[in-house]
Amino acid sequence: MEALVSIVIIGLMSTLFFSFLSNSINKPLLINRAEALVLANKEIQITLSSRNFQDTSYSNNKSNLTLYKRVVESGNLYVVHVSVLYKNKTELINIPFEIKK
């Protein structure tokens, strides 16, 4: 009887543990946010230093993250939106900022 209870408890705990682990790994926001932020920061720095106001998009080495830069003119300003999408579906980051023309 003791052995049976033990096996059930072990089974339950293992299931919980592995479901939690796979859940965490499958959540793009949890795992990829750091890389997305690095990509976004790099693009912001490039935009500010080179004053490049062309729309652009590119992917990381693993091709799971895609960075989009969209530039809209608004009066005397360029409004720049830098966003990073996971597998072109889930938006992980969206940072808007303005630069004087």
Partner: protein, 449 residues
């Protein structure tokens, strides 16, 4: 396998204890993993929030520069990326300083920058001479790369005894004639307001007698403080700032930066008397105003403005961009008619301005003198005379060129003048005060936190 089976099925009742122990291990490892992921995520969320705050602060500066109505207000708030950004701006001598701050819970960001105005015509010329019907004469090894703008067409070639003859090819650029060139291109109301101070302590200032400022003084006294010094002021030691604080002195007596003094305090000194900057000093982020004169020897400056009524004499020194050196002359005061800015064996990256209350007064001998060993990268502006012997990488806008050779003076003779407009940095920005619409850009920036 046999051993495990014995434990699980043993008669002594170890099986459940063993399973509970395994459970605790699994639960602990789950918690550890959970915490690692939680803190990792928390860090990333904070980093993202910080980036958003930083960009909101940056955007607020850009919005302020794009719409100058914000510049006219000392304090304002702007919404950038749904974040409330506090914008403070102040006139700091002839430069303008903007500080933006944004908060989001425990996260915060603050950004400080100095802004200047993009170069506008006539500073796209190498030389602009505004004296009406100026008869310009070229002599010696004059070499001008860039355009010349004059009020009359006639340029003659001349010889002065002892100066080698004009070599025939003095300009790589066009000569433009405009009879209606403005003699004054600088709005002196800004300068006048800079000198409107008195040494009476107000409610927000502390009174001091003769004072020595050293690190003890800085650590003893509150930051962001105004002081009125009824006596002499001496700055010694190395005075470091955390870039958050400012310290202002209004001084009745003489101000001295003692030998090897280093300061990057956000320092403003308004002195009734002379300011002397001694040997081997390094001064950053300072505004030094004297109703008398400023004398600097063998020192270096960065982002420092020297503004004086009587004279500014700089010898064997280096001024990093953006330096502003100003001499303002009230021509109704006879004493000021010999005011001058003199550069001896020095390098200036910035703007040199001599402003006169009335232009074209014959008895006015005030002038800017750049000696042969000196170099200027930037703009030289004078409402009266400029005696240019050293190299200028930039643009000069003057009422007259001045040259002296025994036995007399030569007005609007360009003798051995060496100006290269093309070598001026494309991102060179002007201080405020010129009669044009300001098109602001950032001169220097600093993230405070």
């Amino acid at each position: 396998m046999i051993k495990q089976s014995i434990i699980l099925t043993g008669n002594k009742g170890y099986a459940l204890t063993f399973v509970l122990f395994i459970n605790i291990l699994i639960i602990s490892s789950v918690f550890v993993l959970l915490e690692v992921i939680y803190f990792y995520n928390l860090r990333q969320i904070k980093a993202l929030k910080k980036t958003r705050l930083d960009m909101a602060c940056y955007s607020a500066v850009q919005i302020s520069m794009a719409d100058t109505t914000y510049i006219s207000k000392q304090a304002d708030t702007l919404m950038c990326d749904s974040i409330k950004v506090y914008v403070y701006n102040r006139q700091f001598g002839l430069l303008r300083e903007i500080i933006t701050s944004a908060f989001n819970g425990s996260d915060s960001s603050s950004y400080k920058c100095i802004i200047g105005s993009k170069l506008i015509p006539p500073f796209n010329n190498a030389v602009t001479i505004t004296h009406p019907n100026a008869q310009v004469t070229i002599a010696g090894a004059t070499n001008i790369i860039g355009n010349m703008e004059l009020t009359s067409k006639g340029i003659t070639k001349g010889n002065i005894f002892g100066i080698r003859n004009y070599n025939g090819n003095y300009i790589e650029g066009n000569i433009i004639t405009d009879e209606n060139l403005q003699a004054r291109f600088f709005n002196d109301s800004l300068i006048t307001s800079i000198f409107n101070y008195n040494n009476v302590p107000g409610a927000d200032s502390l009174l001091l007698s003769n004072t020595i400022i050293d690190n003890n003084f800085i650590s003893r006294n509150l930051p962001n403080q105004n002081y009125v010094v009824k006596g002499n002021l001496i700055l010694g030691d190395s005075l470091y700032s955390n870039y958050l604080n400012f310290i202002n002195f209004t001084v009745e007596g003489k101000t001295t930066f003692s030998k090897s003094c280093f300061t990057d305090l956000n320092l403003t000194i308004k002195s009734d008397s002379i300011i002397v900057i001694g040997n081997n000093c390094h001064i950053e982020n300072a505004l030094l105003i004297s109703k008398s004169g400023i004398i600097c020897d063998n020192s270096s400056f960065k982002n420092t403005q020297l503004i004086a009524r009587d004279s500014v004499i700089i010898s064997s020194s280096f001024s990093g961009y953006p330096s502003v050196i100003v001499n303002t002359v009230n021509t109704s005061n006879l004493k000021e008619l010999n005011s001058h800015i003199t550069l001896i064996n020095s390098i200036v990256n910035g703007t040199i301005i001599q402003n006169n209350s009335i232009v074209g007064q014959v008895n006015n001998k005030s002038k800017i003198t750049i000696d042969k060993q000196s170099k200027v990268q930037g703009i030289i502006y004078s409402d009266n005379n400029v005696e240019l012997s050293g190299k200028l990488y930039g643009s000069i806008y003057t009422y007259n060129f001045y040259y002296y050779s025994q036995p007399g003076e030569y007005i609007n003779w360009l003798v051995d003048v060496n100006i290269n407009r093309e070598k001026l940095d494309a991102w060179f920005l002007l201080p405020e005060g010129f009669k044009s619409k300001n098109n602001y850009e950032i001169i220097s920036e600093k993230w405070l936190y």
